[in-house]
């Protein structure tokens, strides 16, 4: 009887504790979420300021508009009878209306805040000059069209890189000091050069000299007729970009993960597990991978966000029709809505990931103290 009482009491206490935990996690999440949201707002606003050159882009649009209206009026047969003065007055009037329509009559600060709100609420609007390949002017469509190619090349290379490097490193950490291990240590500095740089070399060797693979692009021009031929052509175009990005980071990632695993397998509890006579696999799974899980999750999440933006120069070198190149094209023609659109989506994704990571940490890792404190995250 007595033991049942105490058991019930314990259960109640545990529930109370867990509900307290839940409340703390919610509070923690709210605080974190709000600060992150403010961060996103400020970062996006800064981007808008830079992308508008502090209002200069709008000045350009205004004079462009004025020029267009003047031209239209001068070419209009019906208005030929008007005097120059009348024409000017008429042009002024049209200009005022059009400027008001486009919201160009307001002060830049007000306009920038409107841009900010539109960006944050994902009303990306229409582009001034760029169009998507299908002819759409909606920023949403322009970005959407480029998203696929970027995801294709980035996901293939980054996921390949992430998993191959990690499992290779796990394998190496068991063979510490072997010839292969020393090779990885020696090769790690080669990652000082970025992927596009390796790309140039690969293009030179395999496209220019040997003529085995295409110089760039995503598919043959004109595209082959059948579906299978299309897939084959895309795969052929994928080989060089993927190899370039794997070549540039594989050794460093392997080195990084190997060192990371080695540090964690020199912990006392791993020695203890070894002394108990557990198998290598069991030690790896229970005593090396599990405590390092938060780091692995973070790294994986960051890889996933990285996929999204694409790489500007990388895509330029390989002539790949992705988001990175879109960003560069947009910048070159002062296409502010597209730049802001790409940045906003990136900022949201990054903030969301950081937020989820914080929450996952708080749940998974008992060492993280909730609710801030001296060494809060």
């Amino acid at each position: 009887m007595l033991s049942i009482e105490t058991a019930r009491e314990r259960a109640v206490q545990a529930r109370r504790r867990s509900s307290g935990n839940l409340w703390r996690i919610t509070k923690y999440g709210l605080v974190k979420g709000t600060t992150l949201l403010i961060t996103v707002v400020i970062a996006v606003y800064l981007t808008i300021l830079v992308a508008n050159m502090g209002g200069y882009v709008d000045e350009m649009r205004k004079s462009e508009l004025r020029f267009q209206i003047d031209q239209q009026i001068n070419q209009n047969e019906d208005l030929r009878t008007l005097t120059a003065q009348e024409k000017k007055a008429y042009a002024d009037e049209v200009y005022q209306v059009r400027a008001k329509q486009l919201g160009l009559d307001q002060h830049f600060i007000i306009r920038s805040i409107r841009y900010l709100w539109n960006g944050l609420s994902l009303q990306l609007g229409t582009a001034h000059n760029l169009t998507s390949d299908s002819g759409s002017r909606y920023v949403r469509n322009i970005i959407g069209e480029r998203l696929g190619p970027t995801l294709l090349v980035m996901a293939t290379s980054q996921l390949l890189l992430f998993f191959s490097a990690m499992f290779f490193a796990l394998f190496l950490s068991r063979r510490y000091g072997s010839r292969l291990d020393r090779l990885v240590v020696a090769m790690a500095p080669t990652s000082a050069a970025p992927a596009w740089f390796y790309g140039i070399f690969l293009i030179m060797i395999f496209a220019a000299v040997l003529r085995w693979l295409p110089f760039g692009g995503m598919i043959d021009a004109p595209p082959p007729p059948t579906l299978w031929a299309k897939i084959g052509s895309i795969l052929k175009h994928l080989i060089l970009p993927v190899s370039a990005s794997v070549a540039s980071s594989f050794w460093l990632s392997s080195y990084y993960w190997r060192t990371f695993f080695l540090i964690h397998s020199s912990e006392d509890y791993v020695d203890m597990a070894k002394a108990k006579g557990l198998t290598d696999r069991a030690i790896e799974r229970r005593y090396v991978l599990r405590p390092t899980l938060p780091t692995i999750i973070t790294s994986f999440a960051m890889t996933l966000i990285g996929l999204w933006t694409g790489a500007i120069v990388f895509e330029t070198v390989f002539n790949w029709p992705g988001l990175g190149r879109l960003t560069q094209q947009a910048i070159n023609v002062f296409e502010t809505p597209v730049i802001v659109g790409v940045t906003v989506i990136y900022a949201y994704l990054l903030a969301l990931t950081l937020f989820l990571l914080d929450i996952i940490y708080a749940i998974v890792d008992p060492r993280v103290k909730l609710g801030g404190g001296a060494n809060g995250s």
Partner: protein
């Protein structure tokens, strides 16, 4: 002193560090050589000087040392100037102010390849009567080919390769080929002594003609030339000091500032810490490369502005967080307590007690960052946002890429700057990795 010797001894244990140090030493001496050999203003003149500076260089020529590997030797450029060698010109006074000014350019052509172009540039001084020249070509086997008879303005260029009438006299061959071809086998060069004879005539006392004769070769200098006849060597040499100073200044600047900020954040805590962490989060969300591209496009492409912005954004990011956690550990150690007890000021504690403690982590950190900034400059240049004036490796790559060097087979143009970039990157990365293993006790022996 002993600790330095000790350190060098430790460093020797890592062969990659020794190799890396050698590469860095090579790059540093290359930079010093470049700056002494070609002063800044001279480098800019050679790189941005316009047609006049490069006009005597061949277009898209390969490096001259390629001949060591060719079985068929290719020509280098041959230049004659009557202004520098007056003995090429003979003046005979014919009375009445009329004088014959004959020039003979004689050279021994022993290459297996044809030249790429031939040009004659005249500069003449006269008051009103224009001088006249008659130009002819004499081959080693004694054939005489008349080329052109023209009257000269103050400065005149006769581009022999573009003379459309000349091929008719050469059985339809292009001038630079036909003039040198063996009559028995038009695809082979007839080796021997060629002569270009210019019979000049001036009609006023005091008038004179000077000429420059250029036989453009297929090879030039130690690095070759680009599509604008510029000597790539200038940019290769000058790229070294630019890359090193960009890499070192930005890396040192950002690492030191990051460290000081992290130390201040930890030491003062409270709102200072809060603000620094929030700024850090904002900067982490800002996309670095697009921002840099926009600044380059809208505001200024000067390397100082671009690298300044990079440094400003580079101060924040992951680095500040890892320094912060290190300082948090230091803050609680006993000697800081002691320093506070004897009444040390805030600044003294930060700069004398906290920062020296993490310097061992800082040094490998900034050495491994150097290549990142070197390559960032190259990245910006490849996007066409390199510094307007400075010749850099990245701009060479950009030129080569936009001129389709890979498609047309001018590989030297891509490989030369790429090799130097990669050497610099590897050098610093190798030293940085070794330093990391020496200084970081957790990595020691791994």
């Amino acid at each position: 002193m002993r600790s330095i010797r000790n350190f060098i001894h430790q460093l020797k244990a890592y062969p990659s560090a020794v190799v890396g140090l050698c590469i860095i030493a090579f790059m540093v001496s290359l930079s010093i050589y470049a700056v002494i050999k070609i002063p800044y203003s001279e480098a800019i003149r050679l790189w941005k000087g316009g047609e006049n500076v490069w006009t005597e260089n061949p277009r898209n020529a390969r490096p001259a040392w390629f001949n060591l590997f060719y079985k068929e030797k290719q020509p280098v450029t041959i230049v004659f100037k009557t202004t520098e060698n007056p003995e090429l010109k003979t003046v005979t006074d014919l009375g009445n102010g009329i004088a014959a000014q004959d020039m003979v350019f004689e050279f021994d052509y022993q290459y297996d390849g044809f030249p790429t172009e031939l040009s004659l540039f005249f500069t003449s001084s006269f008051a009103s009567a224009r001088p006249n020249v008659n130009i002819k070509w004499i081959t080693p086997d004694g054939r005489e080919i008349p080329m052109q008879n023209m009257s000269l303005r103050a400065s005149e260029a006769y581009r022999i390769s573009q003379d459309t009438r000349l091929p008719r006299r050469l059985n339809g061959a292009l001038p630079e080929k036909g003039l040198f071809a063996d009559p028995a086998d038009p695809d082979k060069v007839l080796k021997g002594t060629y002569k270009l004879v210019v019979e000049g005539m001036v009609f006023e006392p005091g008038a004179s003609i000077d000429a420059t004769f250029v036989v453009y070769g297929k090879l030039h200098g130690f690095a070759g030339t680009d599509h604008m006849r510029r000597d790539i060597g200038v940019a290769l040499l000058w790229g070294a000091p630019v890359a090193l100073s960009v890499g070192l200044v930005v890396a040192v600047g950002t690492s030191l500032t990051t460290m000081c900020l992290a130390a201040c954040a930890v030491w003062f805590g409270g709102w200072v810490d809060w603000i620094i962490r929030r700024i850090n989060e904002i900067v982490m969300i800002l996309p670095l490369l697009p921002i840099l591209i926009m600044i380059g496009l809208f505001f200024s492409r000067s390397i100082i502005v671009m690298m300044g912005v990079t440094a400003l954004l580079g101060i924040f990011g992951g680095g500040i967080l890892s320094y912060r956690s290190m300082f948090l550990q230091t803050k609680t150690s006993g000697y800081i307590e002691a320093a506070r007890a004897y009444g040390a000021s805030n600044l003294r504690i930060i700069f004398r007690y906290m920062i020296p403690k993490v310097i061992p982590v800082l040094i490998p950190g900034f050495v491994t960052q150097v290549p990142n900034y070197v390559f960032l400059e190259a990245t910006l240049s490849v996007l066409g946002l390199g510094d307007k004036d400075l010749p850099t490796w990245g701009k060479l790559l950009n030129d080569a890429y936009s001129e389709g060097a890979l498609l047309t087979g001018h590989f030297y143009w891509v490989v030369e700057p790429a090799v130097l970039l990669i050497l610099t990157g590897f050098g610093f990365a190798m030293v940085g990795f070794a330093l990391d293993r020496i200084f970081n006790p957790r990595l020691r022996g791994l």
